[in-house]
């Protein structure tokens, strides 16, 4: 046994070295203690799957995965890649560390369920407040100017609160893994139209031009109408916060074709707002991340909106990107594949 391996053998963490060809080259003492001899067989099978480019182990060999959770016989293990061993070998190998995180994940799940329940309970009364304010404001002619302004402010703040509550609810669903996307046929033009219509009155109130930039011949895709609509609404709401009076927000869709067959739809939500600093562009889709630019209206959010949009798009097999020029505007770009029903 080499010095390095004898060192690994004394570590408290379960560690195994797995080859790309499907063999378990080494496992330390802690590994055998944690998993018993059955695990060696299980690991061999998992490692063999690598050769066929299937299974969770594959990512560790292609350098794309650093850590992953895997369920083994009812327990959840976090597997970290310690290193990828390629020198002086015929086939690469990876050294992996296994940590039992079952209790942590159960605690996270309980916390997430609790958050989801609280947020769900908050939405009911909040909807009631919004409905009442909307009714009172519809009687505008009977209100004096001061009350009317105050009620509009209350309405604006209740909208903001509803957005925050919805973002936290979506986030808790993502965290708990309950973020499955249905596979119903969706008319993308309908999604965009619905999202634009739902915020048209807010845009008019803020004196911002909110314009559709897509035709009717956008092909349908398969996914969740509700989640996609919410993602587009999130993006438009975000743009509204940063676009000054007389500014423009456009919501467009373009079709990507290959040999005259639609392959993907590229949706853009573009504003003439303040833009994002060049050094912040790449991190804007991270959770709790908010651009340093201060919003013109609506105050600070949870920093979850764009993270949720990214999760929704990725759940549809798509990708997101952002373009921004400080002082000129920002464009959020969603690329969704056109999948066909089997």
């Amino acid at each position: 046994m080499t010095f390095a391996l004898s060192l690994l053998d004394q570590l408290p963490n379960a560690i195994a070295v797995i080859t790309e060809g499907g063999g378990v080259e080494y496992r330390n003492h802690a590994f055998d203690e944690a998993f018993g001899s059955d695990a060696a067989q299980w690991l061999k099978e998992a490692a063999r799957a690598v050769a066929g480019e299937r299974g969770w182990l594959h990512g560790f060999f292609t350098d794309s995965t650093e850590t992953t959770d895997v369920e083994i016989e009812g327990r959840v293990y976090r597997i970290d890649k310690i290193t990828r061993i390629v020198e002086d070998r015929e086939s690469p190998a990876v050294a992996l560390s296994f940590e039992d995180v079952t209790r942590e994940r159960e605690a996270e799940q309980a916390k997430s369920d609790f958050t989801a329940q609280i947020v769900h309970d908050l939405r009911g009364p909040l909807s009631g407040i919004q409905g009442t304010l909307e009714f009172v404001l519809s009687q505008d002619a009977k209100l004096d100017a001061l009350y009317s302004d105050l009620l509009r402010e209350a309405q604006r703040e209740s909208e903001r609160m509803m957005n925050l509550v919805n973002e936290i609810l979506d986030f808790s669903k993502i965290k708990s893994g309950n973020f499955a996307v249905e596979s119903e046929p969706i008319r993308v033009a309908g999604v965009l139209k619905r999202a634009v219509r739902s915020l048209q009155s807010v845009a008019a109130r803020d004196e911002v031009f909110l314009l559709s930039a897509h035709g009717r011949d956008v092909p349908q895709i398969f996914g969740s109408m509700e989640k996609l609509t919410q993602a587009i609404i999130n993006l438009i709401s975000n743009s509204l916060k940063f676009t000054p009076r007389k500014g423009v927000i456009s919501v467009g869709a373009q079709i990507e074709r290959s040999n005259d067959v639609a392959e993907a739809i590229v949706i853009t939500v573009t504003d003439s707002g303040m833009g994002i600093r060049a050094d912040e562009i790449q991190t804007i889709f991270e959770k709790y991340k908010q651009a340093g630019t201060r919003s013109l209206r609506g105050g600070a959010g949870t920093g979850l909106g764009l993270y949720i949009v990214k999760q929704v798009v990725e759940a549809h097999g798509g990708e997101v990107s952002v373009a921004s020029v400080e002082g000129v505007g920002t464009s959020m770009i969603l690329r969704l594949p056109v999948k066909r029903a089997a």
Partner: protein
């Protein structure tokens, strides 16, 4: 050596577009970005930069003191020499609607195209001096 040029990063596009806008204006920068898409067809962020430019052009058009109530008119040059103008089908259709009485708001209602692209086409017609929008 790769046959394709090395793509600019998002950060580079942000800086390049900002500088080009200051030096050459929105129309020139938009045309340059269209050329760039042929070189970098897979760059998703580039689509966004094109949309930012189109948005800027539409915002500038709507910044007319009369806004949506502005009334576009065919230019004298267009009336006397219309075959000089290389209009696409959408622009050609919009020109057929312009009668010197309909304002932008009514043109948006009559246009079969979406509102954003209708205004963008009007801005392009103005840029090409096919129409004027008197104050």
């Amino acid at each position: 050596m790769s046959a394709h040029p090395i793509p600019a990063t998002n950060r580079d596009w942000s800086r390049l577009v900002g500088e080009s806008l200051k030096q050459h204006g929105a129309w020139h920068t938009w045309a340059k970005l269209l050329e760039a898409t042929r070189v970098y067809p897979g760059d998703l962020s580039l689509r966004g930069y094109i949309e930012i430019l189109r948005n800027t052009i539409v915002r500038d058009f709507l910044a007319h003191p009369k806004g949506l109530q502005a009334v576009p008119r065919l230019s004298a040059e267009f009336m006397s020499n219309f075959d000089r103008f290389n209009l696409n089908a959408q622009e050609g259709y919009l020109v057929s609607l312009i009668d010197g009485r309909l304002d932008v708001q009514k043109l948006l209602i009559l246009s079969p195209f979406d509102p954003f692209n209708t205004i963008f086409s009007l801005a392009r017609l103005q840029q090409e001096r096919a129409i004027t929008v008197p104050q």
